[in-house]
C-alpha cells in the first residue's frame, strides 16, 4: 500500500469519519450559539455606547466603550486562557453529554464563553456603524409622531439598521466559524482539534505504522474542504444580501 492510499484509507474508517463529522457539528453549533448570544450582548453594548452619553447614564456608556475596546484589541486566545482559569463551569454541565467527557463539557463552556465575549465586541461595533448611518431626521420624525424612545428604536430605527448591517453581520458569522478553531488550543472538541488529533494518530489508522506527509495533506485537506464549503456558501449569501440591500 502506498503512502497516499494509506492516507485515504484513514477517511474510509467509519469511526474516524463519525468522530470528524461530530467535530463539524460542534464547530457549527458553537459558532451559531456564540453569534446569537453575541448579537444580543453587542446590541446592548452598541446602544449604551451610542446613547448613554449624559447624566448618570454616562457610566453605562463608559463601561460599554471599555468592554468593546478591551475585547476588540486583545487576542481571542488570551480570553480563552483567562476563561479557562477564572470562570467556573456551572455544575449542571459537569457531566458526560454529547459524547464528551465531563471535563470536556467544562472546557467547551469556557471556550464558548470566550468566543462570545470576543465576537460580541466586534458585533457591537458593526451595530454601532449601522446606528450611526441612520440620519437624525428619522429619530426626530419618530418623536414628532409621539413615539417614545423605545418605540422609535424598535419600530423605526432598528428595522433600517437591520437592513444595512445584515451583510456585515453574516460576514462576522464566517469569522466566528474560523475563530472557533482557536478552541483547538484547549480541548479536542471541534473540527480543527479533531483533525489534528486524527493526524497525530495517523500511524495507527493508515496501516503503515508511521505518519507520512500525505497524511498531513489528506487530513488537513479534508478540514480545508469542510471549512471552505460552509464559509463559501455563507459568503455567497453575504454577496447576495449586499446586492439586494442597495
Amino acid at each position: 500500500m502506498s503512502a497516499l492510499e494509506g492516507s485515504f484509507h484513514i477517511l474510509s474508517i467509519p469511526a474516524v469519519l463519525i468522530y470528524l463529522f461530530r467535530g463539524v457539528a460542534f464547530t457549527v453549533v458553537i459558532s451559531a450559539f456564540a453569534v446569537v448570544i453575541a448579537v444580543l450582548i453587542g446590541l446592548v453594548m452598541a446602544l449604551c455606547r451610542n446613547y448613554c452619553t449624559s447624566g448618570s447614564r454616562r457610566i453605562l456608556g463608559i463601561l460599554a466603550t471599555f468592554y468593546i475596546e478591551v475585547f476588540r484589541n486583545t487576542p481571542l486566545l488570551l480570553w480563552i486562557f483567562i476563561c479557562l482559569v477564572f470562570v467556573p463551569a456551572p455544575a449542571f454541565l459537569q457531566r458526560k453529554m454529547l459524547g464528551l467527557s465531563s471535563v470536556e463539557t467544562g472546557l467547551l463552556f469556557k471556550g464558548t464563553l470566550a468566543l462570545i465575549l470576543f465576537e460580541s465586541s466586534v458585533i457591537a461595533e458593526i451595530i454601532r456603524g449601522g446606528l450611526n448611518a441612520i440620519s437624525k431626521g428619522q429619530f426626530e420624525a419618530g418623536y414628532s409622531q409621539g413615539f417614545g424612545p423605545f418605540r422609535v428604536m424598535t419600530l423605526i430605527v432598528m428595522p433600517q439598521v437591520y437592513q444595512n448591517i445584515i451583510p456585515t453581520l453574516l460576514g462576522q458569522v464566517i469569522s466566528t466559524i474560523k475563530d472557533s478553531s482557536y478552541l483547538a488550543n484547549i480541548a479536542v472538541i471541534e473540527l480543527m482539534a479533531r483533525t489534528k488529533q486524527v493526524l497525530a494518530n495517523a500511524n495507527r489508522y493508515n496501516g503503515l505504522g508511521r505518519i507520512n506527509v500525505s497524511d498531513v495533506f489528506v487530513m488537513f485537506g479534508f478540514a480545508f474542504a469542510i471549512y471552505f464549503v460552509i464559509d463559501f456558501i455563507l459568503s455567497i449569501l453575504v454577496r447576495r444580501t449586499a446586492k439586494s440591500g442597495r
Binding site: 486583545t74 482559569v85 474560523k178 478553531s181 489534528k196 507520512n212 506527509v213
Partner: protein, 238 residues
C-alpha cells in the same frame, strides 16, 4: 482572581521579565514580517484582481476565496506540518510569518482591489494617453490616489494580524501569549494568573488600541470631507 493584588505574584512576574520580553520580541518579529509579506501579496494579488486578463482575475479569486474562507490556524498547521513531515522544516516563527502573511494578504488584496476600483476611469485613460506603462501608471498616478481610502481598512487588517500572532501557540511557539501561558502553568512559576494575564492583555491593548483608534478617526474624517465636498459641489451647481 487570587493573587491579583499580592505583591508576591507581581514580583514573580517581574522575576520572569526576561521571558516575557523574549515572547514580546517574537510576537513583534512575527507581526512585522507578517505585515510586510501581507502587503506584498496584497499588492500583487490586488493588481491581478483589477487586471483585464481573465486568468489573472481567476487567480486572484481563487486565492482570496480559499484563504478568506478557511481558518488561519488550519493554514498555519498545514504549512508547518506539511513542511515538517516532508523533512523541510523551516521553524516555528518563519512558518507563522508565512501563514499570517498569506492569510492577511488575502484581506489586503481585497483592500487594494477596492481602492484601485474606486479611482475614476478617466485617471487610467489619462495616464495611458500620456504614454505611461502599466507599472508607471500604477506607481505614479493610481496607487497614490488610493492611499487615503485604503489606509483605514489596511490598519484594521494589521491589528487583526497582530492579534492572530497568538495562533503560534498551537505549533508550540514562544510568542507572548504562549510564554504567558507556560509561565502561569509552569511548575516553578505557576499560580500568578492574574498579573501575568493582565500584563499580556495590556501589552496587546497598548499596541492595538491606538492603531484601531487611528483607523476609525481616519475613516470618520474621510467621510466628513466627502460629505463636505458633495455639499460645496451642490452649492456651486445651484
Amino acid at each position: 482572581m487570587s493573587g491579583l493584588f499580592s505583591a508576591y505574584s507581581w514580583s514573580k512576574v517581574w522575576g520572569a521579565r526576561a521571558g516575557f520580553l523574549m515572547g514580546l520580541g517574537n510576537t513583534v518579529l512575527t507581526a512585522v514580517f507578517g505585515i510586510l509579506l501581507a502587503l506584498v501579496l496584497g499588492l500583487v494579488f490586488g493588481l491581478m484582481g483589477t487586471s483585464n486578463k481573465r486568468i489573472l482575475k481567476a487567480v486572484n479569486r481563487v486565492y482570496v476565496e480559499f484563504i478568506q474562507n478557511t481558518p488561519v490556524l488550519l493554514q498555519l498547521c498545514f504549512i508547518y506540518y506539511a513542511l515538517a513531515f516532508s523533512g523541510h522544516s523551516i521553524g516555528i516563527i518563519p512558518a507563522g510569518i508565512t501563514a499570517l502573511g498569506i492569510y492577511t494578504g488575502a484581506y489586503m488584496s481585497e483592500v487594494f482591489r477596492a481602492g484601485i476600483q474606486s479611482i475614476p476611469k478617466g485617471q487610467f485613460e489619462a495616464a495611458r494617453s500620456q504614454g505611461f506603462t502599466y507599472f508607471e501608471e500604477m506607481y505614479y498616478i493610481i496607487l497614490p490616489q488610493t492611499m487615503k481610502i485604503i489606509l483605514p481598512p489596511m490598519v484594521n487588517q494589521v491589528v487583526n494580524l497582530i492579534k492572530n500572532t497568538s495562533c503560534l501557540y498551537i505549533i508550540g511557539g514562544s510568542d507572548l501569549i504562549s510564554i504567558t501561558y507556560s509561565f502561569v502553568t509552569g511548575e516553578k512559576t505557576g499560580g500568578a494568573y492574574g498579573p501575568a494575564y493582565i500584563l499580556c492583555g495590556a501589552v496587546f491593548f497598548v499596541i492595538c488600541y491606538p492603531l484601531s483608534k487611528l483607523a476609525s478617526t481616519w475613516e470618520l474624517r474621510l467621510k466628513r470631507r466627502e460629505a463636505a465636498t458633495v455639499k460645496t459641489a451642490a452649492a456651486k451647481a445651484a
